[in-house]
Symmetry: C2
Subunit: 419 residues, 2 copies
């Protein structure tokens, strides 16, 4: 929603755009026919890696495995399945997650400890492990074919695999979420950033069921990568809410393999950090826009807060309010619900100072309604992207959160997800 | 949902069942035609009074007034309107709330400071004060007629006014919520407890838009009344969630006028405290059952928690989960969502110890799914009242919360509430 000039530009190749990265996606038949459901992401050299996990006390089995395998900050591959969360199934789940890493490692000729695992789908049901492992075998073989093409200088032919990987991580998503950026560096040459994500249901601050994977051919030590990723996630994925449910399975993983051979100047580094944040925000907005049953994207911008934390709380509270979401669906300029949601966010502020805007239309000043054109308000609320702004007039801190409207479709999807 | 023998029994008369209390409800035309929207509750002698308010930072104008008028712990009347929340309208709102108290006081011949005020309805729009005040005038005159009947020993003829008061506080409620209990006392005679409430949308722990009014002819000093009410509200209204939105307007007010002339024995007192809690739970369940668009009541019982606070957090989190609510609507035995909602509640517990039940059907043991009859589960989930239990197997604390399913109807109602 801003048109700022950026140092980087969009490019092709998705998650496999960075040098040395390959990806594949196959139809393993885990839950449905004709749906991609197993993905592989692979670096042909050792990569630094970092991850951010769900804060849910109940964590899916693959998360524990990935945490363990990331203790040394290194990884070669990520294997992902959709259709089954591999969560809450006891020992079977730990073993299944390990088998996924083991089999991927075997076919890709890397150590199981260098393979990270992610799953998404229904909770509490044992995964059909045979199908998953068979899917990994097929995906590996496709991916290795691409590696051979890459060695022969025809890596762009491998783009199809990257796209299929993006498809394979989707559940109730309706749009594929894959992007690649290219950042020209100050000493010549360029580095790349690839990313895929899935969202849809159960999306809430602290990463309701969402998965995000980022790859880059820049070199950054794992610890630094972790900080960059954590900060980017805090301003993006952690500011998205679809239905307030935080999932057991969510994680964002980033791999940096240094295959560009470029040493980042201070300026490059600063641009890189911004690029990662921009990518995460782009994916986060896609996730909100594509929330289950959503018909529009809501962006809530809070300024004038006393603390960053207050600004974040208010932005997320407004985005998460069922009443605001339903009013948005009905294009009803019910700004009282916006102020109310700010009021129960847990943030401290003076309600008598708050200004509220729908797009650029002022609807409340100093905590009090002003007369405005209902027609104009309706026009704004009927857009596909609706901006709501609150100025607290207290301090200097600000935050942005993203969400979507609450629709009949959401109820339909979630009334019958499992069966 | 339990059939425990109680010391008290249901009786007639609603909010006006206790001696010395009268009520009235009229159609003032605040928002809709042919809808009761102004209510009066009146004690013919001075009463001790207590109240619990919303925790929302944004509070409606009448709440400030009621807080001020309750500083001395005394009240004679409560005036309530629906159709307009008298919230977020600046100075006009404070003046309007005071005018309501002043006019009610004038017609009922009591000090304005002895009148409490409550409002519910749309936020941010100035109320049509003329209509509201005229409604108060008409209601006062009806009520005084009932007082005359009461003086002549025909108080039961005044029941109609109590029922109309119950109607007048409703907004999108579909069922009237009014009850009266009679408690025989150990020295002979009996005391009464009357109550009305409204709920429906915006119901969430810490009292999303809900109003509750209780009257009794027992005598209890204001301070003690406050403690009894606070405790009852914590276990009832504060354990209800419809849509997670906490309103600007909510309050529960209780008046005790001592008109029974009975001095409570220790046993009577203990029964009285239980009776108040029981009444509040009954109203809270009605509110959940009658949540906007709800088709069924959900009761979540958490046991084996380390602390009361953990038990409460988990019970409310499960009740508030959009995914659990939608699964309930679809009668889908998706117990993974129950465990997930417990996991993000903020409570500490070991997920590998948790047992989950739907009704009496075990669906997970030790945090892991067990095989169960889908048919039996569907039967349970299709009931009008669905019980979900979690045993954490960690400590001795427990809590119960109430909620409802998430339906298409909810979206429809809230997509077009204001317009």
């Amino acid at each position: 929603m801003n048109n700022m000039e950026t140092a980087w530009k969009l490019t092709n190749g998705g998650i496999a755009a960075p040098r040395g990265f390959y990806a594949a996606g196959v139809q393993a038949g885990i839950k449905y026919k004709d749906k991609y459901d197993v993905a592989l992401i692979f670096s042909d050299i050792q990569a630094q890696a970092a991850a951010v996990y769900t804060k849910n006390v109940v964590k899916a089995h693959p998360l524990y495995l990935t945490q363990r395998h990331l203790e040394n900050g290194l990884a070669r591959a990520i294997v992902v399945n959709s259709g089954n969360a591999n969560a809450c199934v006891g020992e079977f789940g730990d073993q299944a997650a390990y088998s996924m890493a083991e089999v991927a490692g075997m076919f890709l000729a890397v150590q199981p400890e260098d393979v990270l695992v992610a799953s998404t789908g229904v909770i509490g049901v044992e995964m059909p492990l045979d199908r998953v492992l068979n899917g990994i075998r097929v995906a590996s073989s496709q991916l290795l074919n691409d590696v051979v093409k890459g060695i022969r200088g025809r890596k762009e032919e491998a783009d199809e695999g990257a796209h299929r990987a993006a498809l394979a991580i989707m559940t109730t998503d309706t749009m594929v979420k894959e992007y690649a950026y290219e950042l020209p560096c100050s000493q010549g040459g360029s580095i790349h950033l690839g990313a895929i994500a899935k969202g849809s249901g159960m999306i809430h601050p602290n990463m309701g069921t969402m998965l995000g994977f980022l790859t880059t051919d820049a070199f950054l030590p794992a610890e630094e990568l972790q900080n960059i990723l954590r900060e980017a996630v805090d301003e993006s994925f952690n500011m998205v809410t679809v239905d307030g449910d935080t999932s057991t399975n969510d994680m964002v993983v980033m791999m940096a393999n240094g295959a560009s051979g470029i040493t980042l100047s201070e300026e490059d580094h600063s641009n890189f950090v911004k690029m990662v944040k921009s990518m995460c925000i782009r994916l986060a907005k896609d996730i909100a826009r594509d929330g289950e049953g959503a018909s529009k994207l809501m962006e809530v911008y809070v300024s004038g807060a006393n603390t960053k934390d207050d600004a974040r709380k208010i932005a997320r509270s407004v985005c998460g309010s069922s009443l605001v979401k339903a009013a948005l669906f009905g294009a009803d300029a019910n700004w009282g619900r916006i102020l109310t949601a700010a009021g129960y966010s847990g943030a401290e502020f003076d309600p008598n100072k708050v200004d509220v805007y729908l797009g650029s239309l002022s609807v409340a000043q100093g905590g009090k309604g002003v007369s405005f054109s209902e027609e104009k308000a309706k026009e704004i609320l009927e857009l596909k992207e609706v901006q709501i702004s609150l100025n607290l007039h207290s301090g200097e801190d600000r935050a942005t959160a993203w969400g979507c409207d609450l629709t009949h479709e959401y109820v339909t999807i979630n009334g019958s997800y499992r069966t």
